[in-house]
C-alpha cells in the first residue's frame, strides 16, 4: 500500500489555468499539489494556443469572459516583469474588409468600452496603412486596441509553474487522476501513482474537465473540442505586421488572424471546427481556409516561407461563457471548465477569482511571509554581447551553440532539463531549440544526447513527448559493444 500524499489544495491539470491557479495559491501557507497526466506541463491545449493577450473588446459585457480577460490583460505587464516570460504589448487591430464592415468596427468599439477596455481608436484606411503598411490596400479601416499583447503561451505556463514550485508547491507530471472519493473534510484521489488526500480540488483539466467532475458525480460539465490549426512562417518575415491583425469577428470565432509572435515569426490561424476525436492533425482544408483568409489581410504571405504547422483543441462549454464555480456536489471542488478563448489572457484573473472562491469555501489561508514573485532564466539570444561574453566566461557551455537557427546554447538546454524538461519537445518549448527554420534537423540528435547525459538514460529512452514517441529503436550492428558500455554507465 502506497503512502497517501496529504495536501491542502490539489490542482488537476498543468495547463495555463492550473499553472496560474497554483502560482496564485503559492502566496499562501498551503500544501499545494499540481498534477498533470502528460509528461510535462503545458503539453495539452496551452501548447498550441495562439499566444494572444486579448484586450477584451470581443466579449459580451457582463460575462466572466469579459470581466476576467480585461483584468487578465491588465495583469500581464507586471506578471511578465516578475516572471520573465516572453511577452510584448504590441497592440491589436481589428480590420474592416469593406465599407459595410465599418459599422461593425464601431459596434465592437462600443462593446470594448462597455467592458472597460481603454484607449480604443478607430482608424481610417490611410491611418491603418500608415501604421501597418503591409496590410491589404483593400481594407476599409481598423479599430486599434493598444492594450492587446502577445505572449509565448508555453513559456507563460513554465514560468508560472516554476515560480509556484520555487514557492513551495509540488508538481507531479505523468500523474493521471483515475477516481475521486468525496470524504467528510475533503477528497481521496486515486491516480496512476500515489493516492492523494486533499481538502480542496481545482478542476483545471481542460478537455478532460467533464470527466474529472463526473468522478464526484457532478455531470454538469459538458465539453466538446474545437480544433484550431495554425501555420508558422520563417523569422525572416519579422516586422511584416507589428500588431496582431484580426478580421471583424463572426458569431463563432474571432476569425483567422495574422499574429506576430514574440520570437519574431509570423503565425496565421486558427481555424475553429468542432471535432469528435482528439487527434492533432493538420489538414489541406485547414491550410486552404487559413491561407486564403490571411492573404485577404496580408497579401504578401507566401507558402515558401512556411516552417511548420500545428493544431490544438479548445475545451468549449455549453454556456458560451467560462464555467468557473464550486461544484453543486461540494463547495470545495471548484470547476474551471470551458476555458476557451480568451482563456490564456484571463488565466491570471481566473486564478485570483478561484483563490477568492477557495477562501469562501472556508479553507484557512494565511499569507506567506516570504513569497518570492520573481523568476528568471538565461536566454542568450536576448542579452547584449557584453552580457553574453561574461556569461560564456563564467560557464563555457553558454558558448557552445547547439541550435544554430535560434542560437540556443548547450548551457540553456542543460538549464531547461534541470528546470524539468524530460523530452525533446520539453527542451524545445523551453529553449526554442528546433523551432527555427531547419526544424530540428541539425540539433535533435544533439539534444537527444544532452537529455541522455543529464537524465542518466540511454538515448533509446529519449522521446519526443513521452512514452511511445521514442526516436531510436536501438543500435546498428557493430555498435552493440558501445551500447553495452553506455548501459553500464547509466546503471
Amino acid at each position: 500500500m502506497m503512502a497517501i500524499l496529504e495536501v491542502d489544495v490539489l490542482v488537476i491539470g498543468a495547463g495555463v489555468v492550473g499553472a496560474a491557479v497554483v502560482r496564485e495559491l503559492s502566496r499562501y501557507e498551503l500544501a499545494l499539489l499540481l498534477v498533470e497526466k502528460e509528461v510535462d506541463v503545458s503539453f495539452g491545449t496551452s501548447k498550441a494556443n495562439s499566444g494572444i493577450v486579448h484586450s477584451g473588446i470581443h466579449d459580451r459585457p457582463g460575462t466572466l469572459k469579459a470581466r476576467l480577460s480585461v483584468r487578465g490583460c491588465q495583469l500581464f505587464p507586471e506578471l511578465a516583469a516578475e516572471l520573465g516570460f516572453l511577452y510584448k504589448q504590441n497592440g491589436a487591430v481589428v480590420v474592416a474588409r469593406s465599407r459595410e464592415e465599418l459599422a461593425g468596427l464601431e459596434k465592437l468599439a462600443e462593446n470594448g468600452r462597455a467592458n472597460g477596455v481603454k484607449d480604443l481608436s478607430l482608424l481610417s484606411r490611410e491611418e491603418l496603412s500608415r501604421i501597418e503598411p503591409n496590410l491589404s490596400a483593400e481594407l476599409a479601416g481598423g479599430l486599434l486596441a493598444p492594450s492587446g499583447g502577445i505572449v509565448v503561451p508555453f513559456d507563460l505556463v513554465f514560468a508560472l509553474t516554476e515560480n509556484a514550485v520555487a514557492n513551495g508547491a509540488k508538481l507531479m507530471v505523468g500523474t493521471e487522476v483515475r477516481g475521486i472519493k468525496v470524504e467528510k473534510d475533503g477528497f481521496l484521489v486515486r491516480t496512476n501513482r500515489q493516492p492523494i488526500r486533499t481538502k480542496v480540488i481545482v478542476n483545471a483539466a481542460g478537455l478532460y474537465g467533464g470527466e474529472v467532475a463526473a468522478m464526484i458525480g457532478d455531470h454538469s460539465i459538458q465539453l466538446y473540442a474545437r480544433k484550431g490549426e495554425e501555420y508558422l512562417f520563417d523569422r525572416k518575415l519579422e516586422g511584416l505586421v507589428q500588431r496582431t491583425i484580426f478580421p471583424l469577428p463572426s458569431k463563432v470565432s474571432k476569425g483567422i488572424l495574422v499574429i506576430p509572435t514574440v520570437d519574431g515569426n509570423i503565425m496565421i490561424g486558427p481555424t475553429a471546427h468542432r471535432v469528435e476525436n482528439y487527434d492533432l492533425s493538420t489538414s489541406v482544408s485547414g491550410w486552404n481556409e487559413i491561407y486564403s483568409e490571411a492573404r485577404n489581410l496580408v497579401p504578401s504571405l507566401q507558402p515558401a516561407d512556411l516552417i511548420t504547422a500545428f493544431s490544438g483543441l479548445r475545451a468549449v462549454g455549453t454556456t458560451g461563457d467560462f464555467m468557473i464555480a464550486p461544484s453543486m456536489i461540494s463547495p470545495r471542488f471548484i470547476n474551471a471548465a470551458g476555458i476557451e478563448s480568451p482563456g490564456l489572457t484571463a488565466a491570471p484573473a481566473i486564478a485570483e477569482y478561484i483563490v477568492e472562491l477557495i477562501k469562501e469555501s472556508g479553507l484557512p489561508m494565511p499569507r506567506k511571509r516570504r513569497f518570492n514573485p520573481l523568476r528568471s532564466v538565461v536566454r542568450l539570444r536576448d542579452i547584449n554581447p557584453q552580457a553574453q561574453a561574461e556569461l560564456m566566461q563564467k560557464d563555457p557551455a553558454y558558448g557552445q551553440i547547439v541550435c544554430r537557427c535560434e542560437m540556443v546554447s548547450a548551457g540553456e538546454i542543460r538549464d531547461a532539463i534541470r528546470r524539468g524538461a524530460t523530452t525533446v519537445d520539453g527542451v524545445k518549448l523551453r529553449t526554442r531549440s528546433g523551432m527555427g527554420r531547419c526544424q530540428g534537423g541539425f540539433c535533435t540528435p544533439k539534444i537527444i544526447r544532452l537529455l541522455s547525459a543529464e537524465l542518466g538514460l540511454p538515448p533509446e529512452q529519449i522521446s519526443k513527448n513521452g512514452p511511445g514517441s521514442e526516436f531510436l529503436f536501438g543500435r546498428l550492428r557493430g555498435n552493440q559493444a558501445e551500447k553495452a558500455k553506455e548501459e553500464k554507465e547509466y546503471a
Partner: protein
C-alpha cells in the same frame, strides 16, 4: 570589451568548400587565415557520407566522404597560416567584413577581416516547409539528419521506412537503410523524374529492388506518438494529389529528401544580393559577391551534385580572395548571364570578360538532343535533366561585350518522358 582580432581572411565554414578555399588562398600567398567551423570537427557533411563515389573528378580516384575530407585535412596541416577554429559559430558578418563568433573555448570573439569567404553550405527543407498534412509524431527525419543518426551516432532509427523525395541523399539513404535491415517500402517523387543523379537511382534503388514511385507524394502522416503509416497519392500534371487514387503505406519512419536550401542568413546580414534561382549569392567568375571583399563558394552559392565541383569552385574563390587582397580583381568588367529557354539557373551569374569561366547550368525540365547555347558558343547534349548539372566553360571569344549580356539556353530538344 570584446576581443577583436585583425586577420587577412576569414573563411566561414569548414566543410569541403571552406577547406578548399582556405588551402587555395594560403597557396596563393595569403598569410593570416582563420577557418571557422561550428561542428567539433572539420569536414562539414562529408564525415557522415560513408558511401563511395566521391573524388572521381577532383582526385581521379574513388573515395568515401570521410576519405575525401581527410585529404583536405592533411592539406590544411601543411599550411600553418591557416588557424582552424572548430566548435565555433559565426553569428554575424557585416558588410565591412567584421565576423562575430561564439565558442565554448573562447566565448565571443570578433574578427576584422580584409576579405571573407562564405562557405556555410546548405540545410535540408523540413516537413513544415512542404506543408504535409497530418499528425506530428516521432519518426519523421530529413535524410541528412537520419544519415547523421546512423553513420555518426550508430543508432537504429526505425524498422520500416518510406522516403519522400528522390534527391541524392534520399536515394543514398534508401540503400543505407536497406543494408541495415530497415525495410524501405517506397521512394516517392513528386516530379515525373528523379531529382538525383542517374547513377544513384541505379545503384541505390534498382540494385536493391526498392520501388520508385514517380509523380507521387505523401498526402497525410498518421500516428499520434510514432509514425504509423503515411497516405500516398499520385499527382496530376498540376502536381496536385489525386487523393481518390491514393493508398496507405504502413511504416514507422518517414524520411524527407525534398530539397536543399543554401544557408544564407549570414550573407543577407552582410547585404549580399541573392539569386532567387539558386538561393545563393550572385557571384562573378571569381565568386566575388555583390559586396566588396566578400566571396561565396560551395553549396552556400548553389547546391552542387558533386563535392568535387565544390572543391574546384572553392579553389577559384580562394585564389580570387588572394588576388583581391593583393589589390587585384577590383572593378573588373563583367557581363550578366541571361537565362533563356529551359534554363533554371546559371552560376556564376556575372561573367568576367577576357577569360574562360566554367559554368554550372541547371535545366528546368528533362529533354533529349538539345543544343546548349552560351553566348556565341554551341554544344550538343544528348540528355539534360534538372537532377544533373550541365557543365560548360565559356571562352572569351564566345562573349561579345556589345551584346551587354550572355544568353544561356537549351534549344530544339524533345521533351523527355
Amino acid at each position: 570589451m570584446l576581443n577583436t582580432k585583425e586577420v587577412d581572411l576569414v573563411v566561414v565554414g569548414g566543410g569541403p568548400a571552406g577547406m578548399a578555399a582556405a588551402v587555395a588562398a594560403s597557396e596563393a600567398g595569403v598569410e593570416a587565415i582563420v577557418l571557422i567551423e561550428r561542428q567539433a570537427r572539420l569536414g562539414g557533411i562529408l564525415p557522415q557520407c560513408i558511401h563511395n563515389g566521391f573524388g572521381l573528378r577532383f582526385f581521379k580516384e574513388e573515395l568515401t566522404g570521410p576519405e575525401y575530407a581527410h585529404r583536405f585535412m592533411l592539406e590544411l596541416e601543411k599550411h600553418p597560416g591557416i588557424e582552424v577554429k572548430t566548435g565555433t559559430m559565426v553569428i554575424k558578418v557585416t558588410a565591412d567584413r567584421q565576423v562575430m563568433t561564439v565558442s565554448a573555448a573562447e566565448g565571443l570573439v570578433c574578427y576584422q577581416a580584409r576579405a571573407v569567404i562564405l562557405a556555410m553550405g546548405c540545410r535540408e527543407r523540413p516537413r513544415g516547409a512542404i506543408n504535409i498534412p497530418g499528425t506530428r509524431p516521432a519518426g519523421i527525419y530529413t535524410a541528412g539528419s537520419l544519415q547523421y543518426l546512423m553513420n555518426i551516432e550508430g543508432f537504429l532509427p526505425g524498422r520500416t521506412a518510406v522516403i519522400l523525395g528522390s534527391g541524392d541523399i534520399g536515394l543514398i539513404m534508401a540503400r543505407r537503410l536497406t543494408l541495415e535491415g530497415i525495410q524501405v517500402k517506397a521512394v516517392l517523387e513528386l516530379m515525373p523524374y528523379s531529382n538525383g543523379l542517374n547513377r544513384n537511382v541505379v545503384q541505390c534503388l534498382e540494385d536493391f529492388k526498392i520501388p520508385l514511385y514517380l509523380s507521387h507524394t505523401v498526402t497525410a502522416i498518421h500516428g499520434q506518438k510514432r509514425v504509423e503509416k503515411v497516405s500516398v497519392a499520385p499527382v496530376g500534371a498540376d502536381l496536385k494529389p489525386l487523393v481518390e487514387k491514393g493508398f496507405d503505406l504502413a511504416c514507422d519512419t518517414l524520411v524527407l529528401s525534398v530539397g536543399l536550401i543554401p544557408e544564407n542568413e549570414l550573407s543577407l546580414q552582410a547585404g549580399v544580393e541573392l539569386d532567387p534561382a539558386t538561393g545563393g549569392p550572385v557571384v562573378d567568375s571569381f565568386y566575388h559577391t555583390t559586396v566588396e571583399g566578400i566571396f561565396a563558394c560551395g553549396n552556400v552559392a548553389h547546391v552542387h551534385d558533386l563535392v568535387d565541383d565544390v572543391s574546384t569552385e572553392s579553389a577559384i574563390a580562394g585564389r580570387a580572395a588572394a588576388a583581391y587582397l593583393r589589390g587585384e580583381i577590383r572593378g573588373t568588367r563583367w557581363l550578366p548571364v541571361k537565362a533563356g529557354r529551359n534554363i533554371r539557373s546559371v552560376v556564376p551569374q556575372r561573367i568576367v570578360t577576357g577569360q574562360a569561366t566554367p559554368l554550372y547550368i541547371r535545366a528546368r525540365f528533362p529533354e533529349r538532343d538539345v543544343l546548349l547555347q552560351v553566348g556565341r558558343g554551341r554544344s550538343r547534349r544528348r540528355i539534360v535533366s534538372p537532377g544533373e548539372t550541365i557543365y560548360y566553360t565559356v571562352k572569351p571569344e564566345e562573349i561579345s561585350e556589345t551584346d551587354g549580356w550572355i544568353g544561356v539556353s537549351l534549344e530544339g530538344g524533345e521533351i523527355d518522358d
